[in-house]
């Protein structure tokens, strides 16, 4: 009888711990969901070719994915998250950024991202699109675990994307003072 009581007590402890773990996991999952970039696209002013709805969805999906991985690459100082999402000049620049961060021991973060995209040019052949991104994020720079800079930045990017085999890739990601 005494043994049974101990078993029950142990069982209830396990349940409490499991509940806490579940709550923590679900809250971290929610936190992760909140932390992913928010991307909206307005293609109403794009020309000369109109951007089809499916194309708009693909661009939003891939641009969001690109920024998620850009942050991951610069946080982890590893270029592998950039694979397949960036091409050409944008790919070269980001890889240089990662390797120079590795050398200097700096880490940078792009947190709480919000991107408001406006498609301003979609080529007649559909092989390139130019976007204006009004990006808003918390930008942090860390050196050896110490935060040396953080600010809430609003940055304007001129973006060139081209269609790949199964996704749109970022070819140019160039910040400008204003559009």
């Amino acid at each position: 009888m005494k043994t049974d009581f101990r078993y029950m007590e142990h069982h209830s402890q396990v349940r409490v711990i499991a509940t806490i773990v579940l709550v923590l996991l679900s809250s971290s999952a929610l936190f992760a969901a909140d932390n992913s970039p928010q991307v909206t696209l307005d293609a109403s002013k794009a020309g000369p070719r109109s951007v089809e709805v499916l194309t708009q969805r693909a661009i939003v999906r891939d641009y969001k994915f690109a920024w998620t991985n850009l942050d991951a690459a610069l946080e982890s100082n590893s270029a592998s998250p950039l694979n397949g999402l960036f091409a050409g000049t944008a790919n070269d620049w980001l890889r240089q950024a990662v390797s120079s961060q590795q050398r200097s021991g700096i880490i940078s973060r792009y947190l709480n991202q919000r991107h408001k995209l406006d498609a301003i040019f979609y080529a007649p052949a559909g092989d390139v699109i130019e976007l204006h991104d009004t990006a808003e994020y918390d930008f942090e720079i860390h050196d050896g675990g110490k935060t040396i800079h953080n600010d809430h930045a609003i940055v304007h990017y001129v973006v060139l994307m081209t269609p790949g085999a199964d996704r749109w890739v970022v070819r140019q990601l160039q910040a400008v003072p204003q559009f």
């Binding site: 052949a125 050196d143 040396i148 800079h149 910040a175 400008v176």
Partner: protein, 299 residues
């Protein structure tokens, strides 16, 4: 354009009396203000620039840009020289100066002058006589692959054999100039160039015959059956259609119908069909149909 913030002050937690906390915060701001950064306001990609500092003592300087990050020890009160190589990439840079606390400022590097022209032209082969079928897009880049966003005039020139060259000048908007045009009447190479100052990019579009038009056939009986062939197959502008264009011959022999697909070879499509009795032969290619040819039965 540029902002200066004190991160240590932001993260400071006031644990004691409010007045003491405010005092400490103000003191940190004051320290930070003693070592402000004066970042360049007109930095151009590939050109050296310098950041002025004030105050005294040593500090750590950080620069984080689109393709570069580094840190170095500096002496306050002296200029921090940024080399042309460190500022090759156009975009947003953050300069940070840390002593006890850190001060930071943002600045932009703008693209240099155009040094290369990327020119996309579609399609590589275009049928003649089609409206708005050829298009081209030009992007000016500086020598470091920064997209040049300042307005510039690109001249597109189209030259086809046997016709006068045509040109049009288009100003770039947001780093892009483009054109769209119809294909000509004659098959052959269409040379297209885009030029900006002394930069020239050339592409070629092969204009090919459009669909066949006005098929004419002739035929005769042979020992094996009937031999039918077209007259030279041309499009409606008179251009010979490319080899390999398929012509379908149809032979009606009473209630029996037989078909033969024959490719155009050197402007003419030929086929031998088996038929004993009187037959009616016709030909079609694309949407064009030819004349009917009646041949008597084999004796």
């Amino acid at each position: 354009m540029s902002s200066s913030i004190n991160t240590a002050c932001k993260s400071h937690k006031v644990h004691g009396a409010l007045v003491a906390g405010v005092f400490i915060c103000l003191a940190m701001v004051a320290v930070a203000q003693e070592a402000p950064l004066h970042v360049p306001s007109n930095a151009v990609a590939g050109q050296a620039a310098s950041i002025a500092t004030t105050g005294g003592g040593s500090a750590t300087f950080y620069l984080v840009g689109p393709s570069i990050s580094f840190k170095q020890d500096v002496e306050l009160g002296q200029n921090i020289d940024l080399t042309a190589k460190e500022l090759q990439t156009s975009g947003d840079y953050v300069a940070v100066l840390c002593t006890g606390t850190c001060s930071s400022a943002r600045f932009f590097v703008v693209p240099g002058k155009a040094a290369a022209l990327t020119f996309l032209v579609h399609p590589s082969r275009a049928p003649v006589g089609l409206n708005d079928v050829i298009n081209g897009v030009a992007f000016p880049f500086d020598q470091f692959h920064n997209l040049v966003l300042a307005p510039a005039t690109v001249q597109f020139e189209l030259t086809a054999k046997g016709s006068a060259p045509t040109s049009r000048r288009v100003q770039t908007h947001d780093g892009i100039a483009w054109f769209r045009t119809s294909s000509g009447k004659s098959a052959g190479a269409l040379q297209i160039s885009a030029s900006l100052s002394d930069l020239v990019a050339r592409r070629v579009v092969q204009q090919v015959a459009s669909d066949p038009c006005n098929l004419r056939i002739k035929g005769q009986r042979t020992a094996k059956g009937i031999l039918v062939e077209t007259e030279p197959v041309r499009d409606c502008s008179g251009n010979p259609v490319p080899d390999g264009t398929i012509v379908t011959f149809t032979a009606k022999d009473g209630h029996e119908v037989s078909f033969v697909d024959a490719p155009v070879k050197q402007d003419i499509a030929r086929a031998t069909m088996v038929a004993k009795g009187p037959v009616v032969v016709s030909a079609a290619s694309g949407v064009a149909t030819g004349n009917e040819l009646r041949l008597g039965g084999k004796e």
